[in-house]
């Protein structure tokens, strides 16, 4: 039975499941590094998922849908940026409000546009980027099938997420933008005293996080599910926050942590298939990713220290 569970498909599915988490987590990393808490990733992802579907249904073009998802994520994040940076309101309150708003607005618009709640018409899903044939050529054939199955069977946004993680990591530690970003969340006044704008730096970071969360939403609908269902993000935005913490506020770390959550999710699904033989209620498997989140957030696996000034509005003297 173990051979049936541990297949290339399990790992491929882990990568797939990790993708929306990783994109949102990297968004969270960038946002928190600038000193702004973003618990609205959930809502931004949901809005991205919704508008991605709406535009794809309207135009028949999933790429336009992806662009719409990113743009709508950015738009929602602008609310968070304005509230927490310019109005200096409490960032957790603003984030919570956006999450509630996102849920309400997508549900409401769904009824308005399609005349019914629940799930939209199917959009179909984007296909894999590569289509390599399987091999039946003995030992090397098996290795090829594993590589092909795990790494070469994916849709575009899965690869985008990997590239984004690597580029963001490089940018965070090698570029001017990255240096300012890292300083912003630790000691905004120090950044201000050398003449770099705190307001601008934080705005850019929050908008980037919105765009990434929107892209995560697009991945959910246009690549994984193929339609939009109300509240379909189902807590992924919060798991992404946990992944960001577990990844110690670095893009690659966030990606790897998301992979762990994605694996838990993939395993959970796989185990459900075999639940007849294992005799454990399926609810336990469903709990797996969330239990992992609680464990991580409770600081069981090493204490992580975030940016010193995160969550504190900046005020000039």
């Amino acid at each position: 039975m173990l051979g049936d569970i541990i297949t290339p498909d399990l790992f491929a599915s882990a990568l797939r499941m990790a993708t929306p988490l990783a994109l949102a987590a990297i968004g969270g990393t960038i946002c928190e590094r600038s000193g702004v808490v973003n618990i609205a990733l959930e809502g931004m992802m949901l809005v991205g998922a919704f508008f991605g579907t709406v535009i794809t249904l309207a135009t028949g073009n999933a790429w336009l849908g992806i662009i719409a998802a990113v743009v709508s994520g950015v738009a929602v994040s602008a609310i968070h940026a304005f509230a927490s940076i310019n109005l200096r309101s409490d960032q957790v309150v603003s984030g919570t409000a956006i999450n509630i708003l996102a849920l309400g607005v997508t549900g409401f618009m769904m009824e308005r546009l399609y005349g019914h709640p629940g799930t939209t018409d199917p959009t179909g899903t984007l296909g894999p980027v590569f289509k390599f044939a399987m091999s039946d050529d003995g030992f090397f054939g098996t290795i090829w099938n594993w590589i092909n199955g795990i790494f070469l069977s994916h849709t575009p946004i899965v690869y985008m997420a990997i590239i984004i993680a690597i580029v963001a990591q490089w940018a965070m530690f090698r570029t001017r933008w990255g240096l300012h970003l890292r300083a912003l969340g630790e000691h905004p006044r120090a950044v201000d005293t050398v003449g770099v704008s705190v307001i601008r730096g934080r705005w850019i970071a929050v908008l980037m996080s919105g765009g990434l969360a929107g892209l995560a939403g697009a991945n959910l609908t246009l690549e994984q599910v193929g339609s939009f269902t109300e509240n379909m993000t189902n807590g992924r935005g919060f798991i992404a926050l946990a992944a960001n913490i577990f990844g110690h506020w670095t893009p690659v770390g966030s990606y790897l942590a998301s992979l762990l959550f994605g694996f838990a999710d993939a395993l959970q699904i796989k185990l459900q298939i075999f639940r007849g033989e294992i005799n454990i209620p399926p609810q336990f498997f469903l709990m797996l990713p969330y239990v992992l989140t609680v464990v991580v957030l409770a600081g069981v696996i090493g204490r992580a220290v975030g940016p010193a000034a995160v969550g504190k509005p900046y005020e000039k003297e």
């Binding site: 090698r174 001017r176 240096l179 300083a183 201000d192 050398v194």
Partner: protein
């Protein structure tokens, strides 16, 4: 023509005129010392010059030209650099990253770290400011951090350097080193404004002295035309007793007993390696040492902010080895922390709240979990009055007080609690001479009342004038013990830098300077 000229600068805060038509000139290659009581308006004036605060009147001229300085960026572009009373460094970033922040070399937004490091090394070699460009700020001593601040200003092209109380946090050795650096800066044509409360420093380093009181310039002089006593009088407006009188020690019952204490620092390294000593009632015991030799960790362990890894702590027979900070306060331990911003104050709270912090859950300030504002206000008003905290009222937020007045708030609260044991780390950091005199008197009054005092100070003068017994700490061990009348600064300095025969490598720099001095 002066490189910097201030004409009638005025700055008004709600309820306070911090600068009242202040004029000041700074010539090229000159070191001007800016002197004045806590709250006199020195930092405010310099913040206006650096573009951190806007003035309510007056003019600034740089090289004879009238300028408007609205942001630090403009100040930097005009060649003005400032090292703040509270540093502006990003702790988890490296020295190089901090120095180049805002002016990174490179193309298309990609930082050229090789060039950056090289530039940093160039400047640091040119002015003799040695520092590891790849070290993280949080791993550096305060003295080193200050070097980074100076390097940052130089990297940004400063020709006027403002140093706001640069010596308040330095060891005597580091102060000498800083003075050497400052002299080499003026030799290169820079001009320096130097704020300090230490009169002997003013005398030794400055070309000209400007004294402020209550937001006004009250006098100007030269080191050759005055002395400590004259300066103190000019500053405070009365005669100040610069040395304290104290009677013989009356050692009563044992209050604190430290046995074989071992404590680890934040990185898990052994910082205190088996320390034993006692402090009895009616006695001031001082811990003398170069900073970073385990004093901070030892103090934190005693006051319940850090868990010892082994050994024991007894307060009047009560075991407080693993006591929390709250249990420690309740057992009768007061703590004046060395860093008032990190430990001593909640900057966003008002003075009344800060003045009772730690006792806020006890009568008369609270009962059954309900706070009593009038009792709190009453005590706050009395403490503000007693300790001469310069503020319009207790409603003011702690962050709006001058550095020295913030310190007075901490001291007032901790001594006001009437503890069995007072642990005072750098209790007079950033205080003017008048306030130092007052705080010293308060510490000695605790001693007269039979209370135990553990003093940690980098100022040997302070140690020698307050302590009955002196423990020298080096590399986490107590290497020597003296009674105050059998020791002088030279001997202490010798043992503090490892002269007592612990390993010397790595500390060679300090030893060199101590020798050069004698």
């Amino acid at each position: 023509m002066p490189v910097l000229e201030l004409r009638e600068i005025t700055k008004i805060f709600p309820g306070v005129v911090a600068n009242d038509r202040v004029s000041l000139e700074l010539e090229r290659g000159e070191i001007v010392a800016l002197l004045g009581e806590n709250g006199a308006g020195k930092s405010t004036l310099m913040n206006v010059v650096y573009g951190l605060m806007s003035s309510d009147g007056g003019q600034i001229l740089v090289n004879g030209e009238m300028v408007k300085i609205k942001s630090p960026r403009q100040a930097i572009d005009l060649g003005i650099g400032m090292v703040h009373q509270h540093f502006m460094l990003v702790e988890p970033l490296t020295v190089t990253e901090n120095i180049i922040l805002g002016r990174e070399p490179g193309r298309l937004g990609v930082i050229d770290f090789a060039t950056a490091r090289q530039k940093v090394q160039e400047i640091s070699a040119r002015y003799g400011l040695k520092v590891d460009p790849d070290a993280k700020i949080m791993d550096l001593s305060v003295g080193m951090q200050q070097r980074v601040e100076i390097l940052k200003a130089l990297y940004q092209g400063a020709s006027v350097l403002i140093l706001d109380e640069p010596t308040a946090v330095l060891t005597p050795q580091e102060v000498k080193e800083l003075f050497r650096v400052v002299r080499s800066l003026v030799d290169e044509g820079l001009s320096v404004v130097f704020i300090t409360h230490k009169l002997e420093e003013v005398m030794s380093v400055s070309d000209r002295i400007v004294v402020m009181r209550d937001g006004k310039v009250v006098g100007e002089t030269k080191p050759s035309e005055t002395d400590d006593v004259g300066l103190a009088r000019m500053m405070v407006g009365r005669d100040v007793v610069l040395s304290v009188e104290k009677g013989p020690s009356t050692c009563g019952a044992q209050v604190l007993e430290v046995t074989d204490l071992e404590v680890r620092d934040d990185r898990g390294l052994e910082a205190v390696r088996g320390v034993s000593f006692t402090v009895c009632g009616g006695e001031v015991v001082a811990l003398a040492g170069v900073s970073g030799n385990g004093q901070s960790e030892l103090v934190e362990a005693i006051v319940g902010l850090r868990r010892p890894s082994s050994g024991s702590l007894q307060l009047k027979g009560l075991d407080i080895t693993h006591a929390s900070a709250r249990a420690s306060i309740e057992a009768g331990v007061s703590h004046i922390p060395e860093d008032r911003h990190r430990r001593g104050l909640v900057l966003e709270f008002d003075l009344a709240e800060n003045l009772i912090l730690g006792d806020h859950r006890l009568p008369p300030f609270a009962s059954h979990g309900i706070m009593h504002p009038s009792a709190i206000a009453g005590v706050a008003e009395r403490r503000i009055e007693d300790y001469d905290v310069r503020t319009p009222s207790w409603h003011v937020l702690a962050s709006n007080l001058s550095g020295g007045n913030q310190q007075k708030v901490v001291v007032a609260r901790e001594i006001g609690r009437n503890p069995e044991l007072l642990v005072a780390a750098q209790p007079t950091r950033g205080l003017d001479v008048g306030s130092i005199e007052f705080v010293h008197k308060q510490i000695l009054a605790e001693r007269e009342n039979g209370k135990a005092v553990l003093l940690v100070s980098l100022e040997l003068e302070e140690v020698l004038s307050l302590a009955d017994r002196i423990l020298v700490i080096f590399e986490g061990r107590i290497v020597q013990e003296f009674t105050v009348d059998e020791v002088d600064e030279e001997t202490l300095g010798y043992y503090m830098t490892g002269g007592g025969g612990s390993k010397l490598d790595g500390e060679a720099e300090h030893v060199e300077m101590t020798e050069g001095d004698s």
